[in-house]
């Protein structure tokens, strides 16, 4: 297998990392989803070393609080014991789970180990089990994921690792920079490794692949695949980001400055070789030789490095060089402690029948399995209580609602939906925030497009936001703000001016500093006055004709040639000549006058006026807007997806959502996950515009959905931090309609207040509604809202089944009417392909960040600094922090989020679900049980749970 294939084989172990600007929740163990959940976690644990389940004491607390049912625990334990062939030890196993295992580590910590005569047979078994007297095997286990430079550091008091990792981070953060630095690295367009060669003045004629191959040979690496993985895992955040960039050909920075994991690997190995060349041990053969000669010393040093060697042995190592003796003393004590754990467990279990060695083996199996048993029992308890509480009666809604609101299925809509329903004659629906309507959106006054859809979907239509009123006020204010910002940034970044700047205008920043600290609300209000107010806007939803497309491209090219003429050419050309130049460059027409070759080259190379670019622009402009058929199709799919096909309310509100906070690099993690970590307002606004169009209504009526003329679709925006609702495009309402709509607005205001009151008890250090408001603008607030923490499941079905149940913002709620679905289960498949995939990513990201925030999370926000505008790291250099920060999942060191798999309740016939699974891209993780599918089949009057590869009936009604 070549080196490329070797790297490809292991890169699945590195999680994708999306840039923080559009934070995409994801499963950090996505690369393991081809395995069954339990197996995947066990494999990941071996590679990353992190925890994959919570500690037993965590679940035990739930058990005592009856959040975990005893009967369910019993059932799950029996099932696991049966599979492991230990069914006869059920009573002992249950006692172990409840009494022994939670204290297991405590047994070891108690210093006195003389109280028990230790069983000799047990000692022998443990000795063999932990390889204490097989130093080679032991060492292999201890150094499994260590590089050669790390081993050198450990053995010879070096600090190469720090310097090597720092050098790598310094280079890649500058190379991957997305305009954070003022002085950008030169020549990046050459590629990551080629630029590196210039950066390091390294004369090497070949590419990174060859370099990696040669470097591994020089290091005498035996298992190349494993060594590559070892290197990738050293900075797996950076590696994940490079992997993401290199696999997304549409990522703009990647198009400009290409990077690849192979380049990254070459850079890592370059530094390793550079630092090792003067070291005594500079290849693995020498290390092996050294380890054989000094095995005890090497084991002791590695144990010390891993913080596994108790202080007294470290002291002994300082005082004596009889390492064999020290290691033997350590081993004997460890064995005694290991054996003592079993003896103490045996005492508690009051076991007389099972030999100690046998008991040790049983307990080992149980310790392996207990995390899963407890977690599954917690999940099952939730599942049973959910299905018992559901209302499965058939009560059709007859009264026409004043307004219906479709909110994102996001868990944070749950309280709000309940509050709205309680505040008047309102119905609510839930759908993925992008409404199954993926768009590339170019916001007013912005040049970049945002992909407003789940990361797995690629939008085929572009929507521009354009002003519908005169925007000169906005423009003039914006110019002032932009100029001020530019002057301040230039002064800040110039090497000579900061000192003078601090003296001269430093006080000015004090207003912001003290204001935001002591009076955030007033300061926010004050500074809002200076911000340019966006004019009223509308969207470009209609397709451009071919003539229009030609005209726009022509205008763009003419504009560019004008600009180039001013900057790059000494000659002036008339309008006709400019058009001729453009025709020459784009269509290859003859030029009848002289134009310098230099100028033409500049136009081609720098201004991209080429036939290729013409085609590209044409293709892009062809994507602007929608055809009538597309509009009708998207609206039809959306309405059938949520089951809203008749009995429309007078006002149909489609609500996007967004989070607002200050000084929060993770803000986009709180925005709409189904819109790629951005606000979902544009999708909702665009859908409303489409639904209000007369011709669309006429067409959709032909498909069976009749939207009465008096129905108005109004877009709204739910601010999840404060639970406020903003209303848009109300100018389409007549005066009479506006009067009725003002009642809706007033009721929503009350609903917002009620939702805030309910959330007060959830948020720490929050006593009043105003405290919640302040959190959205306080720049020292590390937890402006709980976001999606607490998420435990998703329900796809009619709202009436769960309307009476309160979930405390813990459940995704997707409206779905199985009766409207076709034979192929197309609607459910779409729900699986978008919302469910996003839901699984969100859930497992929270899961792993909670069970081990060091391995799978981002640590505390307090130490974070933004790096290269792509993510955050700790202090001034560290790995790129993946996952969620502690403030998103923990509260005062304890788990706030309850890690369980996504409990996926679907109110649909089993067959429909089966078809949707079969057709869906989510098939792999569904069948491998990375979520918990529960099917409520009203027709069959059964509830199924998908477990161990089969649909198991868990309730009949």
């Amino acid at each position: 297998m070549g080196i490329v294939a070797k790297l490809d084989a292991i890169k699945g172990n590195v999680p994708h990392y999306w840039p923080i600007g559009s934070f995409i929740h994801h499963n950090p163990l996505k690369g393991f989803e081809y395995l069954n959940f339990k197996e995947g976690l066990s494999r990941a644990k071996k590679i990353y070393g992190g925890k994959v389940y919570m500690e037993p004491s965590y679940y035990l607390k739930f058990y005592h609080e009856e959040k975990i049912s005893h009967a369910i625990l019993e059932e799950n334990l029996k099932e696991v014991l049966e599979v492991d062939g230990l069914a006869q030890y059920y009573d002992l196993a249950m006692k172990c789970l409840l009494e022994v295992n939670p204290q297991w580590n405590e047994f070891r910590k108690q210093a006195d180990n003389k109280e028990h005569p230790i069983d000799k047979e047990l000692l022998d078994y443990l000795d063999d089990e932990f390889s204490y007297h097989n130093k080679e095997r032991w060492l292999k286990q201890l150094t499994k994921h260590m590089t050669l430079y790390e081993m050198n550091d450990i053995l010879f008091y070096r600090d190469d690792k720090e310097i090597i990792e720092k050098s790598i981070i310094e280079y890649i953060s500058r190379y991957l920079d997305e305009e954070q630095t003022t002085i950008a690295m030169q020549n990046r367009e050459l590629g990551m490794f080629e630029t590196f060669k210039l950066y390091e003045n390294f004369e090497y004629p070949y590419d990174s692949e060859r370099f990696v191959e040669e470097a591994l040979d020089k290091l005498h690496v035996k298992n190349k695949e494993r060594y590559l993985l070892t290197h990738l895992l050293k900075l797996h955040g950076w590696a994940g980001f490079i992997k993401y960039r290199s696999e997304d050909p549409t990522y703009y920075a990647q198009q400009q400055y290409p990077s690849s994991l192979m380049d990254y690997m070459a850079i890592r190995l370059y530094y390793e070789l550079a630092y090792l060349q003067h070291r005594e041990i500079n290849n693995f053969d020498l290390l092996h030789e050294y380890s054989l000669k000094n095995s005890s010393y090497v084991v002791l040093k590695v144990l010390k490095h891993n913080y596994n060697l108790p202080g007294k042995y470290i002291d002994l190592m300082e005082e004596s060089d009889n390492y064999d003796d020290i290691l033997e003393r350590y081993v004997q004590e460890e064995l005694q402690l290991d054996a003592k754990q079993v003896h103490l467990a045996n005492d508690i279990l009051k076991n007389r029948d099972i030999p100690l060695v046998e008991l040790a083996k049983i307990m080992e199996v149980l310790r392996e399995e207990e995390g899963y048993i407890w977690m599954k029992s917690l999940e099952d308890t939730y599942i049973h209580s959910f299905i018992n509480e559901m209302d499965l009666s058939d009560k059709p809604q007859t009264q026409r609602a004043l307004a219906s609101v479709t909110m994102c299925l996001d868990v944070r809509s749950e309280i709000m939906r309940r509050s709205i329903e309680k505040s008047g004659n309102y119905t609510t629906f839930g759908a993925g925030g992008f409404l199954g309507f993926p768009i590339a959106f170019v916001e007013f006054d912005k040049t970049n497009e945002q992909l407003l859809c789940p990361a797995v979907v690629k939008p085929g239509n572009i929507v521009f936001e354009i002003p519908k009123e005169i925007d000169s006020d906005y423009k003039s204010k914006k110019t002032v703000t932009k100029t001020t910002k530019k002057v301040i940034t230039d002064l800040k970044n110039n090497p000579f001016t900061p000192y003078i700047m601090v003296e001269a205008i430093g006080w000015f920043f004090g207003i912001n500093l003290f204001g935001k600290t002591f009076a955030p609300q007033k300061t926010e209000k004050f500074f809002a006055k200076f911000k340019a107010k966006k004019p009223q806007t509308t969207y470009t939803l209609d397709k451009l004709s071919d003539q229009e497309i030609m005209m726009y491209i022509n205008k763009l090219h003419i504009h560019l040639i004008h600009e180039a003429m001013v900057k790059e050419s000494s000659n002036q050309y008339t309008e006709e000549e400019i058009e001729a130049i453009r025709d020459y460059l784009v269509f290859g027409k003859e030029l009848s006058f002289d134009v310098s070759e230099n100028f033409l080259t500049v136009l081609k190379d720098e201004y991209q006026i080429t036939p290729d670019d013409y085609e590209l622009q044409k293709a892009k402009l062809a994507k602007v807007g929608f055809t009538l058929e597309e509009k009708v199709e998207y609206l039809y799919k959306f309405l059938t997806m949520i089951g809203q096909v008749d009995n429309f309310a007078e006002f149909v509100l489609l609500s996007g959502h967004v989070s607002r906070s200050d000084n929060n690099p993770f803000e986009s993690a709180l925005d709409c996950g189904a819109c790629g970590g951005k606000s979902s307002l544009p999708n909702n606004r665009a859908m409303c515009m489409i639904a209000n169009s007369k011709e669309v209504r006429e067409e959709i009526a032909k498909k069976g959905i009749v939207i009465p003329d008096d129905v108005k679709f109004i877009p709204t925006l739910h601010i999840t931090t404060t639970d406020e609702v903003e209303f848009y495009d109300t100018d389409i309402l007549t005066q009479e309609e506006m009067q009725r709509f003002s009642v809706v607005m007033e009721d929503f205001k009350k609903a917002s207040a009620n939702a805030r009151k309910e959330r007060i008890s959830q948020l720490p250090y929050t006593k009043t509604e105003n405290d919640i408001m302040v959190k959205s603008m306080d720049w020292s607030e590390t937890r402006p809202e709980w976001g999606l923490a607490g998420v435990m499941g998703v329900f796809a079905g009619p709202r009436k089944s769960v309307k009476h149940m309160a979930f405390g913002n813990r459940l995704f709620l997707h409206s779905y009417d199985a009766d409207l679905d076709n034979e192929n289960a197309d609607i459910l498949t779409r729900i699986f392909n978008g919302p469910l995939v996003v839901g699984e990513w969100i859930n497992l990201e929270h899961y792993f960040a909670t069970v081990d925030n060091v391995a799978y999370g981002a640590g505390s926000k307090v130490y974070h600094n933004v790096v290269s505008k792509v993510g955050v790291f700790n202090g001034n250099f560290s790995d790129l922090k993946i996952g969620l920060p502690t403030q998103s999942v923990l509260l005062e060191g304890e788990a706030y989020h309850e890690p369980v798999r996504l409990l996926t309740y679907m109110e649909a016939p089993l067959e429909t679900v089966g078809k949707a699974v079969e057709n869906s891209i989510a098939k792999e993780f569904i069948l491998n049980e990375w979520i918990r599918p529960i099917i409520i089949d009203k027709k069959a009057k059964k509830v199924y749970s998908y477990e161990s590869g089969d649909f198991k009936v868990i309730k009949e009604f």
Binding site: K109, Y307, P310, G311, D315
Partner: protein, 246 residues
Amino acid sequence: MIANIVFFLLVGALPYYIFLEKSEKFSSKFIFQLSAFLLTCAIVLSFFIENEYSKTLVVIAYISAMYSVYRAMKTTNFYKLAYYFIYINAPFFLLFEENGAFYSLSLLISLFGLYAIANFYEKHYGSANYLYVRGITLATPLVGIYITVYLISIGLYPPLPNSLFFLAYVFDTEADFLWYIIIISIYCGNFLVSMKVLEKSIFGKTNPNIHYVDLNTKEKIPHFTIIVLLGLLSLYATKEIFTWVL
């Protein structure tokens, strides 16, 4: 001159290295106790005997202090660290003359704090070695705070008394080449060793193999007393600085 030799024997590192560390009979705990006792004697003596600074002895003390910095960087045991700090600061004692007594007194008090911490570690974790018991800040914040105070005091961070007496001395003395070398290198030595220990002992992830224990009421008393003493010395040192400035 005789006074100088007496002081050197009391505070310089060489005698300890030659006679005590070589022998297996003396534990590091005992060496600290002895060094601290002799330093106390030297402090008391310095109030009665005039300490003139002998360049030769200061140079020898300086060389052994540098060696102590090296040793202190290698060890991860609080007892050893505590007596190494005495030796690292020996040249200051000789060089600072009358100010040396107060500087050494505040150093000694900080070291007693470290010694109390070492005792606490030995009692609860089986050894005064801090490497194994990392992540103290997260697990037992109170112990972490005390260790931080003692180490930043030794590391010459203001406003703790060591740094203030050090500053008072710097203001009050005429400098020569040797003075510069010693002041700068020992200042850096104290700082670097303290910071390295601080980083390795109190920060980081907690060790799951350890059952962490925080200070009980009885154990808090000596630490509280030490903090009060350091506070009083800080006030006195501030007064000294103001006297000089005004």
